[in-house]
Subunit: 457 residues, 2 copies
């Protein structure tokens, strides 16, 4: 009898499960259909990138973006929208940079951008012979004898054979982040790096760098990948080649800014929180389309979709437009601080900050094995939409500080092939975003949030 | 004893299988690495699209493309390269088309392209009132009474909710292919269609149409999606709105042209053939980058990769650059005819004609269940490269005529979201192709060809 009973139970259970899957697949389809047929994310992205544009933390444009985000989320029907005060670093690029390769009497102008956080050069710029290296080890081996008074040129390309371009970026990033410190230690007077991009073109890519304590501060800039190829070739032909660059950037006092937070109140567990977000700031030279206007637009679309389809979440969903991801992460840190201070239990946080490309899946961080398996169980619901990768890893810079509070961190994973063509460069523009790719991402995120809220973690 | 024996056999067998999988994964990785680090497909695409450009069958540019393809394949190390003679349709667009919406005394110029195969309008153009319909049923219901002497405007958009955009294209394609015939049956004097694109912009998309026998021939053109939206809105406001268009196209006598065929001779079964190809022709108004310069460049890269890595296939691999896919498929038909005539056993043919986007997988047509399962068994080898979809379906126009000979037909399936932004329009340009996406496709195709040649079907 027992066996029979359990057989019937299994049958009933699997019938119920299958019904639930069917019901879920209907909701998921509605989310995709609504986004693809009349979603707002593309229009919102257009506003943010073309009407406001570049919006580095502390800038007037960043303040405009905060106001814009608040207005849009209010109009989209959030139960409440509020700002979180946060002091952010305030770095300004100043007047246009200048750079050229000097071979004898010939000057070849090349495109350069100061790295974010760098000091200026002296007003008239600096010029010196160039030492090209691939990595810190090579630099240290050359030592003071070879490097003193020189400009160090870090020219290690992103590894083209990495299929996930974020891995290639990770493998080359130390040159930008710490190149100035390492070069300073061997007596160099300036640093230029090959832009962190896997495309050969004329756009220099900026990005943040930090000075270490105890070493002299030297200016650091990035030249385009084409310029890096040219400089390297020129150096091979003429090792006495010099490089000139001038940048006028400065770090001002910290400035007041804000995270923007919009809520849909939970119907059953309003004190449990789910965060969906991206970062509102971008580098100054770009429209900040893929980085991270698309994450902002997709997060806002999640709220709009829930409202349109009348989905009442059990838990409180917070759409968070974080401030200052690019050069300080003060917004992310502040959000987590306040969450702790207010005893808010965050069950998971999801970030979209890998561009607005065709979705491939999600990366899960900090989930117990059973939770991870549960999330993987939703794979079949996502397969019709081309998402196949629910893997360990992921997360995001802004939501990272929630990790120590036990919050599961989820990174939205779109296709990564084109991201570093645009990342931190002036070609990161609205017109490089494909509307359907953006919308598929918004619907994918909304679907996962719907499932995880409904079934819990 | 028997059990034990079979247990050991199983162990040995699975060890052997696993070793084979490991060896295969090494070769597959080499194929991807070589393409991503120093592949030639992107450079070849640049040559074909920017140095030759649009190349409709029968045109001087198509002849240039044949010569170019032959040269490149010879230089890439093919064992032999030969041309197959084929007579192709020869349609010419003539002088630039003209079109405008007429509301009272106001004329609003809109972008229009004659559909391939259409007749010209009378020299001074045609102007008439417009009847907007969504489909043939609606048109038939209106009948002669409403449509006689009018211009029919087919305005059914591609369904945005279809995830695979080729399905949406399939669902809207009858308007272009047969709209003129259906309109002619109810006495219309001309046809304009909403471009088959899921993007709202100003590019009209051409494409082939065929006249049916027994109905009067009327001219047919496509207007951009933005123009279609405008015309529809204008008609709602003023049903007496007229439309004017003028096109000067003509169909000339069939012209001589060629398929280009390059071989790597099989080492064990030289009389068994594998075809890898795309089509060399493109519409006249475009550079033919995604349609189908990318398929051509990827197919040629397969040969280059096999040569570089010293892979000697068991069977004879033929890289085929087919002529006239766009408006007649004479190249595909001729290839299959000759294969039959020469008693060539083609075990499978693979076509890349869905754009040079990030690969998602392959569609398999005409394979027995066991063969299909065998191919699906390679999924794990492709997963590290982001390919997850090995499904039924697929094939390709050019390879289609080989189907009745028992050849398994395989379609390369890249991500489809951006394809119809460019398809058959003047924005289908080299600079819309991302090098990495293109190269990932080339390596994916080379890997599948390697596996299917090694293990057979």
């Amino acid at each position: 009898m027992k066996k029979k009973y359990s057989f019937i139970t299994t049958l009933l259970l699997s019938a119920t499960l299958s019904q639930a899957q069917t019901a879920d697949s209907v909701v998921v389809k509605k989310l995709y259909d609504a986004t693809l047929s009349h979603g707002q994310s593309y229009e919102w992205l257009r506003q943010l990138t073309t009407q406001i544009g570049g919006r580095l933390a502390g800038s007037a444009n960043a303040a405009k973006a905060v106001q814009w985000g608040k207005n849009v989320l209010e109009q989209a029907g959030a139960d409440r929208v509020f700002l979180q005060d946060v002091m952010v670093p305030h770095w300004e690029r100043g007047a246009k940079e200048e750079a050229y390769i000097v071979v004898g009497k010939q000057k070849i102008t090349v495109p350069l951008l100061a790295l974010g956080g760098s000091i200026a050069t002296p007003k008239k710029g600096i010029q010196a012979e160039v030492i090209e290296v691939q990595n810190f080890q090579e630099l240290r081996a050359l030592g003071k004898e070879k490097c003193e008074g020189k400009i160090i040129f870090f020219n290690r390309p992103m590894d083209a054979t990495k299929i996930n371009t974020f891995e290639a970026y990770g493998g080359a990033g130390d040159q930008r982040r710490s190149g100035a410190n390492e070069a300073s230690k061997v007596g160099a007077i300036g640093v230029i790096i090959r832009s962190l991009s896997n495309t050969l073109n004329d756009y220099p890519h900026t990005g943040s760098m930090q000075y270490a304590t105890g070493v002299p501060l030297i200016p650091a800039g990035a030249i385009s990948t084409n310029a890096a190829e040219l400089l390297s070739k020129t150096l091979k032909e003429n090792p006495k080649t010099q490089f000139f660059f001038k940048q006028n950037c400065e770090t001002l006092d910290d400035a007041p800014s804000h995270n923007v937070v919009a809520e849909i109140k939970g119907s059953e567990k309003p004190d449990e929180y789910i965060v969906v977000g991206g970062h509102l700031d971008s580098w100054d030279v770009a429209q900040g389309a893929h980085d991270d206007g698309t994450g902002i637009a997709q997060s806002m679309e999640v709220l709009r979709l829930f409202k349109e389809l009348g989905i009442r979440p059990k838990r409180t969903i917070r759409i968070v437009l974080f401030m200052n991801e690019e050069n300080g992460n003060r917004g992310g840190i502040k959000y987590a601080e306040l969450a702790k201070q207010n005893n808010e239990k965050h069950i998971f946080a999801l970030e979209s900050d890998s561009g607005g490309f065709t979705p491939k899946g999600f990366g899960i961080q900090g989930a117990a094995a059973s939770v991870f398996e549960k999330i993987q169980g939703y794979k079949s619901l996502f397969a019709p939409y081309g998402l196949h990768e629910i893997e360990r890893g992921g997360g995001g810079v802004d939501i990272g500080p929630l990790g120590p509070q036990g919050t599961v961190l989820i990174g939205f994973k779109p296709d990564s092939q084109r991201y570093f063509e645009y990342h931190h460069a002036s070609n990161d523009k609205f017109d490089t975003v494909n509307q359907r790719e953006l919308e598929l991402g918004a619907a994918s995120i909304a679907s996962l949030v719907y499932l995880l809220d409904k079934y819990g973690l």
